[in-house]
Amino acid sequence: MARVSASKTATAARRSGSEEGPVPDREQLLAYYRSMLLIRRFEERAGQLYGMGLIGGFCHLYIGQEAIAVGMHAAQRAGDQVITGYREHGHMLAAGVSPRSVMAELTGRAAGVAKGKGGSMHMFDAERGFYGGHGIVGAQVSLGTGLALANRYRNDGKVAFVYFGDGAANQGQVYESFNMAELWRLPVVYVIENNQYAMGTSVERSSSETHLFRRGASFNIPGEEVDGMDVLAVREAGLRAAAHARSGKGPYLLEMKTYRYRGHSMSDPGKYRTREEIDEVRKTRDPIEHLQERLAREGAVDEAATRAMDAEIKEAVADAAEFARTAPEPDASELMTEIYVEAAV
């Protein structure tokens, strides 16, 4: 797909292709399929629990965008960091956080990833290098660039993966961050999840440059457009971008063309697009069906195998929902804890 490159090095790196990982084997393909399906089923269940009043506040589902979290995760190395916005349930699951602890956070229970204090929009898992889950549109871009600054400072070979939406791509701090990231050659991969809408505003109505992969050009950050509905295309681009960042060449920008099937949050009347538009994407570009067809075509998996996987995932999600429904709320004393780090004496 389309690319923009403001530096010769970037072009060379892309052409070489040598930094891309090996072609995924059958086991890996199945793992991607499984991971995407888990996210899909998990989110459907989360939507249902929201409807029952078990999940409160704002709840932004990731349905339709699964290939991005999963494909990019496949391009990451242990120790790399991830940071994103409020649409993060899928990213957490892709990172290997248990469905139980994500769902329990959604229901506000003590067993949740953030002890029930953060909720749907604010999830963290420090052990896995998952730095949130941020509710303020665009904030994660500067924060993620700061993670990369720490990596460069320590020279530890880690890369920060920073995800944000097409709407967030208009925030000023994104460009302040881009400038510093390139200026200081920070190891960061920016991933714009362009699902075509920011709430009810389409990219065309909010952006003078709608090709968001070009947004780094005036800072000399190479960018490319990627089919975000194809987990393998995502993975390949992710590997390329990560190799660039890890080798000391600085930031890299990926624009993932994707689509969200559900409303912006659960409370979105969705009058800004037609049902037909949504159905068309579901029918023709669905990332899960796409991979399933490929697996079947290559004889990597038969229907019985996918059906078994479906059942197993349904079971895992039902278990997470049941756990999240019955797990206890945080103790009242939690209200006043963790406001400050208790200083070591």
Partner: protein
């Protein structure tokens, strides 16, 4: 068999109308299919099936109003093994849990004692949401230099539907959808105001105005002074402020004290519909920058609002919502409702509270508060934000300075717990002021 329950489609929804069924008995549905349309006070929403199966029965007929969240609206047959969380036998438990969650949401119905204080002249029954909309529409009709700008204000009709219909009436030149760039468009608004226009800048919520607070304070508030009076900035920054329901720390903050700290700004935070309308109209006409703090939890509440196009409530005047001789309760925004509910509880214990709605925080109507304390000898302040360095601290300090000899007890302050707002329902309920916590503070002030 699976029950399909009336879904909650927003953080604050308790019931809705079943506007339309898109499936009928016997239809096969797949997860993700749109099966019905539901109307809430904000919008019409589509309901998607979360399970597969055949529609066996439709229990809430099309057109049914006031269908409670979580009641069974239809039943599905088949669809393979049902996950535990939706097994019918557990329905009762789910409803019970959901009911607790709903009870802990901070919505407070307007107490009966309010009826006595409605303004004279012909009135209409209006939601706070529509009162605000009418205020903007009337001022835009009156003055062509008034325009509205913000995220989702035009085509989407406002994220909270406050600007419903304005695009249709005034067109895209005066009702402007912006990208998500608060710092930028707030700056554009201030610049346009310096050039003589009268922008209304909507922040989707005031949490996002923190991106723009530099332009509000450094540019809007100070330019008149810095320019030696040459340049003024007639602008209104408005939007919902404070805690909604379960939206957690980054989306639940009361900025009243933050802005009320700043010379050059006027700061307004109305409670009822008549004040919301009259104060917003005054704010738009005011030649200074005004920060106008609304409350999402009040948008759907209905009040009697004067029908007149010239209904103006002056900035800088408090309102006595309820007379009482025993203790003065001072509040603003949603906390006025909490204070009024507390006053009803106190009355049952023989204590008559006077409830003052500050309405404007800067300039503060200090006289009304002092006069009340001179009468009651006791002061309780109520705010949704944090207590330290807060509105209550300011009110108490001024009362101590000016009415020290009239106080029979130290002033009491009720505020949000001194912590970021937690997500968990039980913790959130513990964090926010309630009628009960106001009663406890009042009893303490009364030595009871």
């Amino acid at each position: 068999m699976t029950d399909i329950l009336m879904p909650a489609l927003s953080p604050t929804m308790e019931e809705g109308k079943l506007a339309k069924w898109l499936v009928k008995v016997g239809d096969k549905v797949r997860s993700g299919d749109v099966i019905a349309e539901i109307e809430t006070d904000k919008a019409t929403m589509e309901v998607e099936a979360a399970d597969e199966g055949i529609v066996e029965a439709i229990l809430a007929p099309e057109g049914a109003e006031g269908v409670k969240v979580n009641s069974v609206i239809a039943r599905l047959q088949g669809g393979g093994a049902q996950p535990a969380a939706t097994a019918p036998a557990e329905g009762a438990v789910q409803v019970a849990i959901a009911a607790t969650a709903a009870a802990s949401s901070p919505a407070t119905p307007p107490p009966a004692s309010l009826a006595a204080e409605t303004p004279s002249g012909p009135t209409v029954r209006l939601s706070v949401r529509d009162s605000l909309r009418d205020a903007m529409a009337e001022e835009m009709r009156r003055d062509p230099s008034v325009f509205l700008m913000g995220e989702e204000v035009a085509q989407y009709q406002g994220a909270y539907k406050v600007s419903r219909g304005l695009l249709e009436e005034f067109g895209p030149a005066r009702v402007i959808d912006t990208p998500i760039t608060e710092h930028g468009f707030a700056g554009l608004g201030v610049g346009a105001a310096m050039a003589g226009l009268k922008p209304i800048v909507e922040f989707m919520t005031f949490n996002f105005a923190m991106q723009a607070i530099d332009q509000i304070i450094n540019s809007a508030a100070k330019t008149h002074y810095m320019s030696g009076g040459q340049i003024s900035c007639p602008i209104v920054f408005r939007g919902p402020n404070g805690a909604a329901a379960r939206v957690a720390a980054q989306h639940s903050q009361d900025y009243a004290a933050w802005y009320a700290h700043v010379p050059g700004l006027k700061v307004v935070a109305p409670y009822d519909g008549a004040d919301a309308k009259g104060l917003l109209k005054s704010a738009i006409r005011d030649p200074n920058p005004v920060v106008f703090l609304e409350h999402e939890m009040l948008y759907g509440h209905e009040f009697d609002v004067p029908a007149s196009d010239e209904w103006l409530v002056p900035l800088g005047s408090a309102r006595i919502h309820r007379q009482g001789a025993d203790v003065t309760l001072v509040a603003y925004s949603r906390m006025v409702g909490v204070a009024l509910a507390a006053a009803d509880l106190l009355a049952a214990q023989g204590i008559e509270a006077e409830v003052i709605d500050l309405r404007t925080l800067r300039p503060l109507d200090h006289g009304t508060v002092v006069a009340s304390v001179v009468k009651t000898h006791r002061l309780v302040t109520v705010e949704e934000g944090w207590g330290p360095m807060g509105v209550g601290a300011e009110v108490a300090a001024r009362v101590v300075a000016d009415a020290f000899d009239f106080l029979d007890a130290p002033p009491e302050r009720v505020s949000q717990a001194d912590t970021p707002l937690p997500y968990a329902a039980n913790l959130e309920a513990l964090a926010l002021p309630t009628a009960e916590s106001v009663v406890a503070a009042a009893l303490k002030a009364c030595y009871r």
